[in-house]
Amino acid sequence: MKRRMIAKALAAATLLGMAPVGAALAQETVKVPCVCELSGAGAVSGSNYRDGAKLALEEINGAGGILGRKIEMSEYDTQTDPQTSRALVQKAIDEGAYAIMGTVYSGSTIVNMLVSKQNGVPQITGSEAPNITQQGNPYIFRTSSSAAKGVPSLTAYFKEQLAVKKIAVTWVNNEFGKGGHDVFIKEMAAAGIDVVSDVPSEQGQADFAADVSKIRESGAEAAFVYLNEEESARFLKEARKQGLDIPLVGEVTLTGQKVIDLAGAAANGAYAHVGLTTGANVASIKEFAGKFQSKYGRDTDHNGIKGYIGIYAIKYVTELIGSFDREAMAKKMHGLTLDVAKHPGMLLTTSWDDTGEMARESFMTEVQNGKQVVIGTVPAK
């Protein structure tokens, strides 16, 4: 009897003794979940975004975390489904998210960012559809330029470098594609370039024979390819198969590493304007690319960089406000510029305007011998 009482007393003492420790452990972390496309059509983008974020997280946690608290990142797979992503953002917030990383696909972000807004949680998205930052949502922030900024950067290239009068456009019929397509059509009209073939395709489309054939027969002197990664690769392979020999120019995805891996030799000669690229001749980006390669044994595309700088943005802004205050963080980010000299994790000097739209230096790239090569720099706008 006595023994039993002693054992109970010991157990109680142990539990009581552990309680503050448990509480302290819980206090030491800050939850920044990644709600990303880890399967489905967006798996390439979402996985890179997640892996870039994890790399930054390990560096930050290794250096003591944010304001002394380690970052805890749970992964939520949206399966590239907007409704699933919405439910998962709600779940992540219910579980105490300080900020949300993701989603990458615009079709998901446009749906799930309403949940973050309602709950007052900052959301760092990798999406590029223009309308995301045009909804008056004070909690949404980009990690790359939108199509509204990126596509106009190509106008000068079409008009002056390629000197084309007739152009074709092939685009994926989702939120990302529609946004870029609409901006492109306006830009070409303003530049006096005739869009002679306008070819939409479906997300996940496998057969691009008809699409390429239409572009070839249209008499276009160049084609603007605005598709997601896998579709870009399939398009390039079909273009090669049909001997389409006009310049193929994209925005962001067309010269990405995953597209090059998938399309092989068919990717050679493709051009794209990219906001971020591991091929940029910038020391900070080269260092990031080396770290990513060494950790994951593969190259990443712009999405890996987006995830990386997203986590660092959360760290720097939180340190600037000095507390884990979601509303203060969102307010601070509007109109903020993070200078790369003081904030090296941003890789390039980065600014956000009042809508969460981002401005940063960008690059023109070409695929040469299976590698993305930077052929020019476009200043920040």
Binding site: L38, S39, G40, A43, V44, S47, N173, V199, P200, S201, E202, G204, A206, D207, A209, A210, D211, S213, K214, R216, E217, E230, A233, R234, K237, E238, R240, K241, Q242, G243, K258, D261, L262, A263, G264, A265
Partner: protein
């Protein structure tokens, strides 16, 4: 005109690959009186066998293709028949159909788990050159896809019609009881049918994956299109599956080029409804009487 020729050839090329998959539905239907809803995954999986052989076992492409073919015949032919169909054959009908649906999910999720959710590059196995024919740019790959698929189908037809084994397989499909009385080893004939189906699925996989890329979810679209092709052409006739596959391949491309790209995915379904209304047994199929 040159565009029409190019689009037509491309449609025939893709359609002939659909036909290879569609024939699988016909073969399994005749052998086991069931619909194999994992047929799309049967086309998806062999590409991953090849990638495993290249990337993990270090085999050259030709050996990897052979390895992929053998693995497909073993897993999707022999094991499918022995582990799933045979135990459930006495309960033909719904249980077996549901089992193939479960198999479809299992194969898809297993590939996703083992190889990842991302699409994988698949090596080109045919020349990538183009030819200029009367103003039309013709893809050599399209021509060879068509030639290889048609050759496989012709070889299969000759085998079934001109050899004793082939005729025994047909007899087994038409009336297993009578075939047994005639001394035909019906179990073996059914097994041959499953092995041939796996071989055709592997061939379709090797031809389509260089363009479509290897991805765990490829079977979803391929399975549905091949199923529709088999119904449109005639579920109980190999020639029907060929006709259905070619028809869908060509119409898909012609619709996307000349009518609308937005609704191209709906076309096979519209065609299916029209054919079922007009000719329920399919374009080249025959009526099958059933007793209640």
């Amino acid at each position: 005109m040159s565009q029409f020729a190019q689009v037509l050839l491309s449609g025939l090329s893709t359609g002939s690959i659909y036909a290879l998959a569609a024939i699988g539905f016909t073969l399994i239907w005749q052998a086991a009186q069931t619909v194999n809803f994992a047929q799309g995954e049967f086309v998806m999986l062999p590409a991953f066998f090849v990638l495993v052989a290249i990337n993990f076992l270090g085999m050259p492409l030709w050996l990897a293709l052979l390895f992929g073919l053998l693995m497909a015949v073993l897993v999707l032919g022999l094991l499918f028949k022995k582990l799933i169909v045979e135990p459930m054959l006495p309960k033909t009908g719904l249980p077996l159909i549901i089992a193939t649906m479960a198999l479809s999910i299992l194969l898809k999720e297993s590939v996703k788990e083992f190889y990842g959710a991302e699409a994988q590059p698949f090596p080109d196995i045919l020349p990538q050159q183009t030819m200029n024919l009367a103003g039309a740019v013709i893809s050599v790959q399209d021509i060879l896809n068509l030639v290889i698929s048609i050759t496989a189908v012709v070889a299969l037809t000759l085998f079934l019609n001109r050899t004793i084994t082939g005729r025994s397989m047909q007899a087994t499909a038409q009336n297993p009881a009578v075939a047994t009385i005639l001394g035909i080893d019906t179990k073996r004939m059914v097994l041959y049918t499953f092995l041939i189906n796996a071989g055709l699925a592997a061939l379709a996989s090797f031809l389509i994956s260089p363009l479509y890329l290897a991805k765990f979810s490829n079977g979803e679209t391929l399975g549905v299109v091949a199923f529709i092709a088999a119904i449109v052409g005639g579920f109980n006739q190999i020639r029907g599956a060929i006709a259905g596959g070619l028809l869908i391949g060509v119409l898909d491309n012609l619709t996307a080029t000349y009518i609308t790209a937005e609704y191209r995915a709906a076309l096979p379904l519209v065609l299916l409804i029209l054919i079922i209304l007009w000719r329920p047994q399919g374009l080249l199929g025959t009526d099958e009487g059933r007793q209640v």
